[in-house]
Symmetry: C2
Subunit: 344 residues, 2 copies
């Protein structure tokens, strides 16, 4: 199971307990290890669960559940409700895209202390818009009014996506070679991770102050993009071996999820741009290397591993794509991800 708490010291400072998150994940593995459905396939990287379609020949269903984290608290506070639905659907689309799946349908879960129909409709409208953009049915959902659980004006939003993939098209981490290029797709902001930290470093009364071309709030609520079209465009011209969606855990914890044993990913931070809001958070929090690259995406939203020979075609296929690193052999005592930071 993915886990927002799979994160760093910076999160601990913001009230999120990494050790507890890791222990929960370990316990889940125990629970889930006790029995496994025979149609369940190995889920590469764990971004989505893979289930052989009954009677579907060589096809599998891929499902993923997610939330938008405490970005929801900023949206609620500023009464900007339409974006979180799009954030959530795009997040889910990207998660199952990692195993090459195309969305079929999505269901939302919207929970409030006191139901405001206009707010509920705005949130669901956001989900519907992002679903339609992916030719994905918004097949259902649940709206729960739970006085006593949520404070007035607060709400939570989660969702589950189901997609389909040819089993033959599942990524093959074992095909990775030293020298393969890592293509990065740009992040526009925090997406849906790091908000407990952001709220700890940026007080409520600053949110409406000017920042860049807008306000801090604009930067904080910038929409989690879908990488679906970009990835398909790259796949049209390049052989994509594995992919990763850079969510909670950042480059340091998401990229290793699809690396085979004996390999590491080496990044050169000078090869991509860090969004201004993240530079601001890094500075305010004096974030360490681990804090930065585990709590935040630091400007990389999605990574694709391609043969070096395909790298040029890959980056030409979609705006903003860049070669940001490469695959190397790894000795046993080396980290799975190394990020060389620019010296200024």
């Amino acid at each position: 199971m993915s886990d927002e708490s799979r994160n760093s010291d910076a999160y601990a400072r913001a009230g999120v307990d990494i050790a507890a998150g890791n222990e929960a994940v370990a316990r889940y593995k125990q629970v889930l290890g006790a029995w496994r459905h025979p149609d369940q396939l190995d889920a590469i990287g764990g971004f989505g669960g893979v289930f052989r379609m009954p009677g579907g020949g060589d096809r599998a269903l891929v499902a993923s559940a997610d939330g938008v984290g405490t970005k929801i608290l900023i949206a609620a506070e500023l009464q900007r409700y339409d974006g979180v639905g799009r954030d959530l659907v795009n997040h889910c689309v990207n998660d199952i895209l990692v195993v090459n799946a195309s969305p079929l349908f999505f269901l939302d879960y919207f929970a409030v202390g006191k139901l405001d129909p206009a707010v509920a409709a705005a949130v669901v409208q956001g989900c519907a818009d992002a679903c339609r953009a992916h030719n994905c049915a918004l097949l259902g959902g649940e709206t729960a009014e739970m006085p006593g659980l949520y404070a007035p004006g607060h709400f939570d939003l989660a969702g589950t996506i189901v997609g389909v993939v040819d089993v033959k098209a599942l990524p093959k981490p074992e095909s990775l070679q030293a020298g393969d290029a890592i293509v990065g797709l740009p992040a526009v902001g925090l997406h849906t991770n790091g908000y407990s930290l952001a709220r700890a470093l940026l007080a409520r009364d600053e949110w409406t102050k000017p920042f860049g071309d807008g306000t801090y709030a604009d930067a904080l609520l910038a929409q989690h993009p879908s990488y679906y079209d970009a990835v398909r465009a790259i796949q049209n011209v390049a052989h994509v071996k594995t992919m990763a969606h850079i969510t909670g855990g950042g480059l340091l914890e998401n990229v290793p999820r699809t690396l085979p044993p004996g390999f590491k990913a080496v990044f050169e931070a000078a090869r991509w741009d860090v969004p201004p809001i993240m530079r601001e958070l890094v500075e305010r929090g004096k974030l360490s290397y681990d804090e930065k690259y585990k709590t935040l995406n630091m400007g990389v939203g999605y990574t694709l591993v391609v043969p070096l020979a395909d790298a040029e075609k890959a980056v030409a296929a979609t705006p903003g794509a860049r070669v940001i690193g490469w695959i190397e052999h790894r000795a046993e005592n080396e980290p799975q991800v190394v990020i060389h930071e620019a010296r200024s």
Copy 2:
């Protein structure tokens, strides 16, 4: 979308706003009406969404999202965590069973203010147990630690189930005839609905007091049963035309969801038992007819419509099943559900 708030005056007294719930549902219909995926099929009764399986011939996927409502607050308060996962999965299994679907896989969403790995594992263990009992994969999930959204010790739990059904086996409401029998399967308690009302009528300090063979807490937390085996046993011996899962909205709002125009369901309350905890709530709250039968299941957890000729075989097929009513023609100005209460 189903909606816990689709409920009655009694709920309003407990802080749940019915008018808001209805308006939200109306607005959702508008949002969802703007575009519909071509593979989305009519979802009879709306208990689950139905999606034609890509390349799956005459089979469809059925999905439903749900939560356990504020039963979660009682479980959290009493630190009894293992039951809510089973409640949730069983609720979801029953929802898609209404369109005859068998479970394939389930995903959970568990959100907390402060993550306690032991609590998280207990909740997920409950989900895993109930999944395994239905040969259903627990395919994934999301655990979110969200300081600021949930109070210490509080958590929310929601889930999404996906099942499969032969399109030919979808229920056919148009086959209903006057004189068909309604078979009821017994509810053991509130299941996952009516808890905001229950908490308003039963103060926290009463929960651990003796009630029946145990405590009020035992009665309140009694597990939402799965009706899967019972329904399949009945289908083995009887022609089942339509079914309903009696959740939020009670008999008055769930049974009409699968009635064709021109028909009503008539129940005789003397034909089934009302669980003691519900009798207690009715008495304490002096609940009206509408309040009782919209807020609570009042002892009926699931209904099946069968030809009168099959009724005897149907009730013999599974313990506790009883004929509790019948289908009649309905004039335009008549209600869709009539419950004749026992005169004592």
